[in-house]
Symmetry: C2
Subunit: 446 residues, 2 copies
């Protein structure tokens, strides 16, 4: 039986919280309720009204300063001057589409493809991770001739109809596509002692077999290698290889969704898949790619892409435009110049060590795991049972918000803190975060 | 029998043209072939390498100046200082997502909703027109309980799987969804003498009946009211009303795709649907909304939207972020301050008048039609037969390119010049355009 969460019942403001708000915040939440579609959800029972960002810090309308331990879009830091400058410069020159020649898209493609295995040799650009994954699934289907897509039980891959149908994290209101199959995620914490790589490969094989039994041809496996929505499950580098072998043996492709782990985030490699020594068939990118300027990418092996592009036209008006490419280029430059991959590895290790002292101190901290600056901090009722403690996790992020530390929760039970700060996060920020966590846990559990 | 074009066989550079290129252009086209997915297509047998834009003008790498008579993304003019300044200012402050409170999205929503009928009272934001239309179709389906979508024979509504399945303009390589039905477009030129409004309403009814006969429940009709891809078919204001009545009588919704006619383009109204006095259920916007910064919107009647948003979460990471909203706000301000709707109407009329002198002069110019600065210029073999002359249209745009006038073709036969300049287009530009057209037609036909 597959667990499907209801996304409503997580870190979010609801009408019942409105009474407790100050009048300024209340006026904004009322205006949102009046003007915006009801799908819009705010973080926190007491939403935050942000007006300024810089590096790893954010400020609200009262001038209060927050530590951002959640946002990976402004990955190289909020309002990074290199991106502002690049965008401003290009906006003064030209911003048009890719049916005219322009050098930026070519220069960037050359550089970004150099960070990938040589078999991944073709670039395409869109505006969002959803658009990249939507196209990736269509490519998998065109290449394989099948329709069946495997994702993990709490995966999130996008907001278009096609990607929503492969995003169980959206909850039971969003029907999965009849050709989507779910596998349990590689939860090393609960599978301790097992060969998780082998186990996970068997899960994939079982779903491929189930497809066959139901007359569905397998097209591919789509996953972000850090299993962010499943609760941040990096596992040891390399364990994914066996699963990808199974995918390929069965004629499917592996789509590495790098919207979460990509662009040096994991510290161990520039890409999440690279931690595992895997060669993906298709790579999709998004969020951190332009540090907030909408740009996403799809990178593929030419022979995999050909089945789609020989047959179906694809043109994305804004995708790959000179301003978006200027932003993306600036991000790439900064990651190199500031050596952010190394930084993410070093600071991530330091942070994890400090968080592990909390794990020792508190019965409710079941697991601390991560790669680079992407860390899962799992709350349980007790270490013995490992039962998820969602209520505590939700109270904890509200306490952290009160202590001006912004983060949120992940996982099917919403009991894992997703600690994913901008890579500008520094050693001196560790005390703020760990101190706030320690105090909050003390207040909530002792 | 439905005509479906092959998009490949239109205004585009193909490998066979490479020999004739100068070495600089050749090096760029070679690099594109090597690095980018094969879906990427360039305009023109001799592609243009653009490096600079300003208002209605573009410059190539040689310093040659072009008149832009095609691009509606940079709708208020290439590199408009108001947008550059607004984006730069906001990028220095903050750029984050909508799960925190921010005033820009609220201020903009308030203003943009004021331009629409009062029943359209909820706003949502994405990054591309495709994303807006993808969501709009899902809303139609959630609201109606049906799946059937009607579009015109050469419609283009986007690049996601769902919108591609409702975009016959993509050609026969892209399968239409089994629940998509096509209607012939309201081609006043060929239906001269008929009550086109009534005729079109009957086409819609016939497809709804066909759905019923095939067990498909009707969900909605999706159209841009200027029928851009069908060959730019504005028709007289008001003629669409009968069709929309049929849509509503049959329990479907009307989605006004304003990616093409919206934001003052038609001169006669701020929105394409408003020319017809229609109240849409859902309005989608895109291209010109941020003058090149990726932003799109979906505006809906609350009771129509509710069926979707009560059930399905929707969050678009970049959608509605402060920088995108700053760009959109600047565009809206400029349209007002520069009175671009009136300008579009006035200059559009002047331009149409001049183009009609060419229609009188040349047997091959079958029709000149338009609303504001959105004009279709149709090439035929002769005025009597009205047979589409695609070869001439394709030669003509290449000649125009040689005379530094940029445009392209539309319609199922690719024989209609789509004249859709930035709204910054001025009276003094008319001579350049009409002169180049006159010379080219003279060279090609006499």
């Amino acid at each position: 039986m597959v667990v499907r969460s209801t996304i409503m019942d997580t870190n979010s403001f609801r009408a019942e919280h409105a009474q407790a708000l100050d009048s300024h915040t209340r006026s904004l939440t009322d205006k949102r309720a009046k003007l915006l579609g009801e799908s819009y959800r705010l973080f926190y029972r007491r939403p935050v009204h942000l007006v300024k960002g810089q590096g790893q810090y954010l400020w609200d309308a009262n001038g209060d300063k927050y530590l951002d331990v959640y946002n990976n879009v402004a990955s190289i830091g909020h309002c990074h001057p290199a991106v502002i400058e690049a965008v401003n410069h290009q906006m003064h020159q030209l911003n048009t589409h890719t049916r005219y020649l322009h050098e930026r898209i070519l220069d960037y493609s050359e550089e970004i493809l150099r960070t990938m295995p040589s078999a991944v040799n073709k670039a395409m650009y869109m505006c969002t991770g959803s658009e990249a994954n939507d196209l990736a699934i269509r490519i998998a289907q065109a290449y394989s001739g099948g329709t069946g897509i495997i994702v993990t039980q709490e995966a999130y891959h996008g907001t278009s109809q096609l990607t929503s149908g492969a995003s169980p994290a959206l909850g039971s209101g969003q029907p999965l596509a009849p050709t989507t199959r779910l596998v349990a995620p590689p939860d090393h914490y609960r599978l301790a002692g097992q060969d998780v790589g082998l186990w996970f490969a068997q899960q994939i094989q079982a779903q491929i077999d189930d497809m066959k039994a139901n007359g569905i041809q397998f097209a591919g496996f789509l996953a972000d290698s850090i299993f962010s929505s499943d609760g941040v499950l990096p596992g040891e580098a390399g364990f994914l290889r066996a699963a990808i072998d199974v995918v390929h043996k069965n004629g499917g492709i592996f789509i590495a969704d790098e919207v979460q782990p990509g662009f040096a985030r994991t510290g161990e490699a520039f890409w999440g898949f690279a931690r595992h020594g895997i060669v993906p068939d298709v790579v999709t990118t998004g969020k951190p790619m332009g540090n907030g300027i909408p740009i996403s990418g799809l990178f593929a092996q030419d022979h995999v892409l050909a089945a789609f592009s020989d047959q179906i036209p694809y043109f994305n008006t804004f995708g790959g435009n000179p301003v978006a490419m200027a932003a993306a280029q600036a991000v790439l430059n900064v990651i190199r110049e500031e050596d952010l991959q190394r930084h993410s590895l070093d600071i991530g290790l330091q942070l994890k060590k400090e968080l592990q002292t909390l794990q020792e101190k508190y019965e409710c901290v079941g697991d601390v795991r991560g790669a680079g600056l992407f860390i899962g901090f799992e709350l349980v009722t007790d270490k013995e049972s490992k039962n998820p403690n969602k209520a505590l996790a939700l109270d904890l992020i509200e306490r952290l918000r009160d202590k001006k530390v912004l983060t949120s929760v992940a996982g099917p039970h919403g009991n894992v803190l997703k600690l994913r700060p901008p890579l500008a996060f520094q050693a001196q920020d560790i005390d703020w975060l760990v101190g706030a966590l320690d105090e909050s846990l003390h207040e909530l559990t002792l």
